[in-house]
């Protein structure tokens, strides 16, 4: 404003040294000032300035996010979301987002910043938050660099620039994305740079081929069996053992036949006497762990990596000569897990076979979900229930969930059941949340029982509100 700076400098230096001049001030102020002094002039000018403030010009609004909004769930559901974001029962947040998404509900946009912050360090929530944010995901990602992941799906595009000039994380992401879209192209891109990459990078990138693995990768993997790096060789062998119909599988089958012969109702085993170079090339580990002899260890690995199609289910019931049956059973367990075979898993569990280093739970999860309850009921006589169900994917099938809750009803508040209860609290599917256990008194004390009932009730109300 005209004349204001003059007032300020008079005030700074003092009117003794620099008397104030008012001629430069706007007329309106001069008229009203009369015989007032510097402070009167300043007061008038201050209010004059404040009153004369103009709106900003030439500020461009951010372009709107294109698209439509989903309808919102009812207020109770929104309040529950806010409570979870505030720290109450936060572990059910992912479930809320999934359920809302499945029913076509949107998320009130004012909660997106908190959700975006929450998922920033929790990768498993990111796809849920991206879905919840809808048309706002990319829009917010463009505005706030911390939420760039919100358009992760778009950012990890096929721009080869990432592959040739990106940092380790960007290159990895690029390769993983391409492998999902075009497995052959990804393998070819990897083959091209293979000789110039460091051993650690080779081993890391090789692991990405697990996705979309097929017989077409065989030549590349076979050549990787001769890699300079032991870790790469191991990785290649692991992958080859998962490719049906591979030469690797044929070699293992051959080895099996030379050391195991079924004849006249017994399995005659002749443990390998030495570890051949070709066996080592195929990733057979020479160093036996504690508790098992060298030769038995080599044989176990042969079984573990032989295609199940080359072996018979009846062998599980066949007497073994020449080594402990445990060795074979442990090998079959490994093979069943490697191939994800429900048939072998079922047979191994039914025959109460040794599972070696593996937990029976790892076989259990290979069975179809509707068999879990029955299998757990049988296995619980010999294996800890918590260990069995702890590794199963959630939500559990209804039969298993009801069975576990039925049991928990009966055990009072004995501490031994606390872990099972905390697993069940999250794993029980929506249809079983109204289990009778939620209507029994739990007392005031902070027991696992009370926490279980609280979580089940919380989740039940959550689904009701979102329905």
């Amino acid at each position: 404003m005209k004349g204001w700076d003059g007032l300020v400098s008079s005030a700074l230096l003092g009117t003794d040294r620099r008397p104030a001049h008012f001629e430069d001030l706007p007329e309106h102020i001069q008229e009203r000032l009369g015989d007032g002094g510097l402070l009167d002039a300043a007061a008038l000018a201050t209010v004059y300035k404040r009153a004369g403030r103009k709106p900003l010009r030439e500020v461009d609004p951010i372009p709107a996010a294109p698209g439509e909004d989903r309808p919102l769930p009812r207020p109770a559901a929104i309040r529950r979301l806010a409570a979870m974001l505030g720290g109450f029962q936060t572990s059910a947040l992912g479930e809320w987002l999934r359920a809302a998404d499945a029913r076509g509900w949107g998320v009130p946009p004012e909660h997106l910043p908190a959700l975006a912050d929450y998922a920033r360090h929790r990768a498993e929530y990111r796809p849920l938050v991206i879905a919840a944010a809808g048309r706002r995901a990319r829009w917010l990602a463009d505005l706030n660099p911390e939420w760039r992941y919100l358009h992760a799906a778009v950012a990890e595009s096929n721009d080869p620039e990432y592959w040739t000039h990106g940092n380790a994380v960007q290159r990895r992401t690029w390769l993983r994305t391409l492998r999902q879209q075009d497995p052959q192209a990804a393998r070819e891109a990897l083959t091209e740079v293979w000789p110039t990459e460091s051993a650690a990078t080779r081993a890391d990138f090789l692991g990405l081929l697990t996705d979309g693995l097929s017989l077409q990768d065989e030549d590349f993997l076979e050549s990787a069996l001769d890699d300079r790096s032991r870790e790469v060789r191991r990785g290649a062998a692991r992958l080859l053992s998962r490719v049906p119909g591979s030469k690797y599988g044929e070699r293992m089958t051959e080895r099996l036949h030379s050391h195991l012969v079924p004849s006249q109702g017994v399995l005659a085993v002749d443990l390998p006497k030495r570890l051949s170079e070709s066996m080592e090339r195929d990733g057979i580990d020479s160093q036996n762990p504690e508790g098992i002899g060298k030769r038995a260890w080599w044989f176990l690995q042969i079984i573990a990596n032989t295609p199940l199609s080359a072996m018979e289910l009846e062998w599980l019931q066949t007497p073994v000569e020449g080594c402990a049956p445990d060795i074979l059973q442990a090998g079959w367990t490994e093979a069943a897990i490697r191939e994800g075979s429900a048939e072998w898993a079922r047979a191994l569990l039914q025959s109460e076979a040794s599972t070696g280093d593996r937990s029976p739970a790892e076989l259990l999860r290979l069975l179809p979900a509707d068999e879990w309850a029955r299998a757990v009921d049988v296995l619980r006589k010999t294996v800890d229930v918590t260990e069995l169900v702890g590794g199963l994917p959630v939500p559990w099938p209804e039969s298993l969930a009801s069975m576990i809750l039925d049991q928990l009803v009966k055990v009072g508040s004995n501490r031994a059941w606390a872990r099972l209860a905390s697993i069940a609290a999250r794993a029980v599917p929506p249809d079983v949340l109204d289990h009778p256990i939620t209507r029994e008194s739990t007392g005031e004390e902070d027991t696992w029982r009370r926490r279980l009932v609280e979580t089940l009730t919380f989740r039940r109300e959550m689904y009701e509100e979102l329905s």
Binding site: D40, A42, T46, P55, P61, A64, P108, P109, E110, G443
Partner: protein, 432 residues
């Protein structure tokens, strides 16, 4: 007070842990012999001991009573009970004897000190007190005037070294002179010294407005009565609530809660709730204070809702501050109409014309879209005119709601920028 909602109850919790524990207790099976009357809720909650805890809440306060040993106030039992009540899961019933005794006691204690509104216990003594205060304030104002004139004569230039101590000493003198409002203004002036390269200009603005109060006080008798009231309240004379209720201007309306701003301080938490009359369009401000760390009273309604009731305004040339007497339960309200940026600034100028010291002004902006402005943000209306948001204010919620579409925003305006309080996502109010 009618049924409370869950947010209101959780707002009473002294910390997040109590809120969480309270939610855990908000289940019917935790309680026995629970009941609710018009004025209280009560129940027995089984704790770890043999005897269940006796919990009761007097809804008029709210005040709490619980036999548990918790030092938290309210304890988790009281919170749980209130939450249960908010969910409509406490059945109405007759007050148990222990509840009745306690609530009756509280009621009779509350009745005792109450005099007829505006009545003073000892009118002569009160008059003497007022006269003494007038003298003190006048001598304080004279001292301030002399000090200000001296500063301008010798110059503010050397001020950055001695400013803080001098201004603090002066602020303390003004408190002694029973002029706390002026003391605050002087303290604010001390705050700008040395801050940024434009501080001499800022300091001159602040001091000139203090000077304006002093000179207005000199000629108090010549001023229009409402402006004289404004000057007195800026100096720090407070008007007793009872007098406001009796003598204050009364406006009956459905009051839309535009939003609220809470300013926590070391010693005192201040909450400003801005209201706008649905029919009259009048603006109102409800001020609430609480000692630091203590919960504020629950809001009469959520931002974006109507409170039907009467506002009794404090006197002044720009009557804003008011007391609310609620007559009916709160109710939902439609999205309010608002201003363009230009109209909004014009409304602020009108307020300045009535009260040149006015610093805060509630605005409702209509059809505004977010824009980047320097390091911060601005809201731009359909004409392309913009208002800057308060620097440093966390705008992400507002941005997420808007998604770049035009929205309605209610905020508190001051020179530094607009501090949004509430925005509307379609017709749904969102608290910011």
């Amino acid at each position: 007070m009618g049924l409370w909602d869950v947010e209101q109850v959780l707002g009473l919790a002294s910390d997040a842990a109590s809120a969480k524990a309270g939610q855990g207790l908000a289940r019917p099976e935790k309680w026995s012999e629970a009941g609710a009357s018009d004025r209280a809720v009560w129940g027995l909650c089984q704790g770890s001991g043999k005897q269940p805890y006796q919990t009761a809440v007097d809804l008029s306060g709210p005040a709490y009573k619980c036999s548990c040993p918790s030092r938290k106030f309210p304890c988790k039992h009281a919170l749980g009970l209130l939450l249960l009540h908010a969910a409509g899961e406490v059945r109405p019933g007759d007050e148990a004897e222990w509840v009745k005794t306690w609530v009756d006691q509280r009621a009779s204690r509350a009745d005792q000190p109450e005099r007829k509104p505006g009545e003073v216990a000892d009118p002569i003594a009160a008059q003497q007190r007022a006269a003494r205060r007038t003298d003190r304030v006048s001598s304080g104002m004279a001292e301030l005037k002399g000090w200000l004139d001296d500063q301008v004569r010798v110059g503010l230039g050397g001020f950055d070294q001695r400013a803080y101590t001098e201004l603090s000493r002066l602020a303390a003198r003004m408190v002694d002179a029973q002029a706390p409002g002026v003391a605050g203004a002087v303290r604010r002036a001390a705050g700008v010294v040395g801050r940024g390269h434009g501080w001499p200009g800022e300091l001159l603005e602040e001091l000139s407005l203090v000077h304006l109060i002093v000179s207005a006080h000199d000629r108090l008798a010549e001023l229009p009565p409402t402006l004289a009231d404004t000057v007195l309240s800026r100096i720090g004379w407070s008007t007793e609530t009872a007098r406001v209720l009796v003598e204050g201007e009364k406006v009956q309306d459905d009051w839309l809660v535009l939003g609220r701003v809470i300013e926590p301080d070391d010693r005192l938490t201040v909450r400003r709730v801005w209201l706008r009359g649905a029919t009259t369009g009048r603006l109102g401000l409800i001020l609430t204070f609480a000692a630091a760390g203590r919960p504020l009273d629950p809001l009469p309604a959520r931002p974006g809702e109507y409170v039907p009731g009467t506002l009794s305004f404090y006197p002044g040339a720009l009557p804003m501050r008011a007391l609310l007497t609620q007559t009916d339960p709160r109710q939902p309200a439609p999205r309010p109409t608002g201003f363009t940026a230009h109209q909004a600034l014009a409304s602020y100028v009108e307020s300045l014309a009535a009260d040149p010291w006015n610093e805060r002004w509630p605005l409702v902006l209509q059809d505004v879209r977010p824009a980047r402005h320097g390091d911060g943000w601005a809201l731009v209306d359909a004409d392309g005119d913009g208002l800057e948001l308060l620097p440093g204010w966390d705008a992400w919620k507002l941005l997420a709601v808007s998604a770049g579409d035009p929205i309605t925003v209610a905020g508190e305006w001051n020179r530094a920028g607009l501090r949004p309080m509430t925005c509307w996502h379609n017709d749904r109010p969102v608290i910011l």
